[in-house]
Each structure stands twice: as structure tokens, then as C-alpha cells.
Symmetry: C2
Subunit: 215 residues, 2 copies
């Protein structure tokens, strides 16, 4: 497999964690989101993923998968051990719900192309842009934390004592929060789970600074 990735892209980080947890080898193809006006927009990359978004996962037969959560569901179906979703439907809905709280309510608003639009097209100053970035993380983390507490299904990780899709989406988002100086200790369960995840080699190996294109 080949993963088109940018070290700091949190959607790429999600897929890297899943690949590491499954122990699946892959070739890392860096796509620099800031160089050349955004390498993800160049024809070479668009030939792989017409959306111009990273990550893109290319299977050995050349098939291209899009959207990080869809990639992880695929990897979990085709390489079922260790499982990244719980064994029953209700628990799976809980884990997917948490994962999508990050993937649909926080991350899309803080995407690079969105921040560019806010700055360049809407003419928003850097300070207000950074406040926007933090706003969606804080709102989302407050909801995520409330759900973890309310459902009472968290153990060492978001669901029980093994990492799932929820942790895979949460951890890269915590990295983003920390880059923007959000005090994650205000969300004690999230902070605790983050620490537990970072004790696992898969989460550490997949983190931005360990990637070949890290700066």
C-alpha cells in the first residue's frame, strides 16, 4: 500500500495510526500542503485523488481510497486484528459517533483550505482566525468530554481498554489543539486517554514528528 500523506495533516495521522496498529507496511509518499502553492492541487496528485485532499490510500492493485474514516473502516474489515470497532452494534455506534464528532464537527473547520479562505477571501485577521480555530476545538472537546462521561464506556481508551476509531480520531485532534496552545487538561478524560494512547508505539510512530517529511 501507498499512503499519500502530509506529516501535519491530522486526517493523514489517523490513517497512519490505523496502519501501525494493524502492523501493515506501507510506502509513505509526502505531499507538501504549503509548497508549490499546495502540492495536493498539482496535476500529479490530482491524478491519484481528484479531490486534491490528503490522505489518499492506494491499494496494491492500484485502487484509490478517499476519506480517512472510510479508509480505516476498510482496513478494519480487511485486516480485522486488532479490531478498531467494538463487537456489538450499539457500541460501534458510540465509537463512530465519537469519531465523527471530531471528523465532522471539529476538523473540517480547521482544514488548511478553510483557513486560507477565511484569511484570503473573507479577509479575516490572523488573531480572529486563530480564535476561530480554537473555538471549534473547544466546543468539540467539551462535547466529546461530556459524551465520554455520560456514556461511561471509557476505560483506558474511549471505549474500554483497547484503542478504537474514536481514539484514532481524537489523538491527532489533540495534537492540533496543542499546536494552538489549548490547555487540554481542561478536558481531563481526553487528556488521560491521549496520554494512554501515546504510550502505544503505533500512536508514537505515526505522529507528525516521526514522518519522513517532518520539519
Amino acid at each position: 500500500m501507498k499512503l499519500y500523506s502530509y506529516f501535519r495533516s491530522s486526517a493523514s495521522y489517523r490513517v497512519r495510526i490505523a496502519l501501525e496498529l494493524k502492523g501493515l507496511p506501507y510506502d509513505y509518499v509526502p505531499v507538501h500542503l504549503l509548497k508549490d502553492g499546495g502540492q495536493q492541487l498539482l496535476p500529479e496528485f490530482r491524478a491519484v485523488n481528484p479531490d486534491g485532499l490528503v490522505p489518499a490510500l492506494v491499494l496494491d492493485d492500484g485502487q484509490v481510497l478517499q476519506q480517512s474514516v472510510a479508509m480505516i473502516e476498510y482496513l478494519d474489515e480487511v485486516h480485522p486484528e486488532p479490531k478498531l470497532l467494538p463487537g456489538n452494534a450499539l457500541d460501534r455506534a458510540y465509537v463512530r459517533g465519537l469519531a465523527l464528532e471530531v471528523a465532522c464537527e471539529i476538523h473540517p473547520l480547521n482544514n488548511l483550505r478553510v483557513l486560507k479562505y477565511i484569511k484570503r477571501t473573507l479577509g479575516v485577521a490572523d488573531e480572529a482566525k486563530d480564535a476561530w480555530y480554537r473555538h471549534w476545538i473547544e466546543l468539540g472537546f467539551a462535547a466529546f468530554e461530556a459524551n465520554l462521561e455520560r456514556q461511561g464506556k471509557a476505560g483506558r481508551f474511549c471505549f474500554g481498554d483497547t484503542p478504537t476509531l474514536a481514539d484514532i480520531c481524537l489523538v491527532p485532534q489533540v495534537f492540533n489543539a496543542q499546536r494552538f496552545n489549548i490547555d487540554v487538561s481542561r478536558y481531563p478524560t481526553i487528556a488521560r486517554i491521549q496520554e494512554a494512547c501515546m504510550e502505544l508505539p503505533a500512536f508514537r510512530k505515526a505522529q507528525p514528528k516521526e514522518q519522513p517529511d517532518a520539519e
Copy 2:
């Protein structure tokens, strides 16, 4: 089951389509996103869904599911006929990828709470706000259309000749596009699939104007 819904919420519309396709009866509980400063933010609703987001799906035993795509995956697992995801992993990844192109790349940017922030906090004028709304739909639909063509898996619907999660996410987004005067005929495959979906009673019954809280 009970669905907390707002007639115009496209995430609610997705779940309504899935419930109708499965033939599952449910109670409709309207949550008005504009009245009372947003009824989704009132303590009564937050007791159901602490996120303050519609839809929320309450199962007969009182369990609450969050995030529309997670709800639809749940319904598809527990009530498998008619299936909303294809039979093999690669095709499921394709369908989920399309669904998430809407759910992660378009819809989150055009959420009511996001539009409010842009207007009130960033002080963006209505005209620029509407251009923002259209920008993300146009970008997303161009990518969606390109993927439909490239993959060649569309039949009458996004995947083959029965509706899937991809159509369920696409159709409400087309409704939003039309409300903002986007000419959907510029995306011929999307336009064709939209028409095919609207021939099905499930998509018609679930549409905004058929809901008890429609205005």
C-alpha cells in the same frame, strides 16, 4: 424510536431517509434551530444530546445515538434490509468515501452554528457569507462528480441500482444547494441521481417540506 429533528437540517434529513428506506416507524420530535435562541441549546434538549446538535436518535430502551452517519450505520447493521452499504469491503469504502465527502467536506462548513459565527463573530457581510456557503458546495460537488465518473460504479444511484449511504448524504446536500440557487445541472451525474432518488417514496416522505415542523 424517537428522532429529534429539524425539517431543514440536512443531517436530520439523512436519518429520515434511512428510516423510511428501512420502513422503520419513529416519533418525530421537532427541535427548532432558530426559535428560543436555538432550541437545540436548551437544557431540555441538552439532556438528550449534550452536543446541542440535531439529529439525535433515541432507541426504544432510551439509548441516544449521535452523529447522523453513525446512526445510519447502526440502522443498517440492526435492520439489514434493504442494505445501505454494498456487499464487499472495497465497494463499501467507495460508498463511505462519497458519503464522507459530503459529511466531512461540505456540510460542516455550512452548518447553522458555523454561519452564525461567520456573521456575528467574524463580522462577515451576508453576501460574502452566501458566497462561502456556495463555495464549499461547488468545490465538494465538483469532487463528488469527478469521483462518480472516475470510479464508474454509479448506476441509477451512486453505487449501482439501489440507494446507499452515499445517496442518503448527497440528496439533502442537493436540497441545500438548490436553496442557495446553485445550478445543480452543472453536475450532470449528481443531478441525474438526485432525480432518481426523488422518484422513491422514502426520499420524498423524508424531505423537509413533508415534516410536521415544515414552514
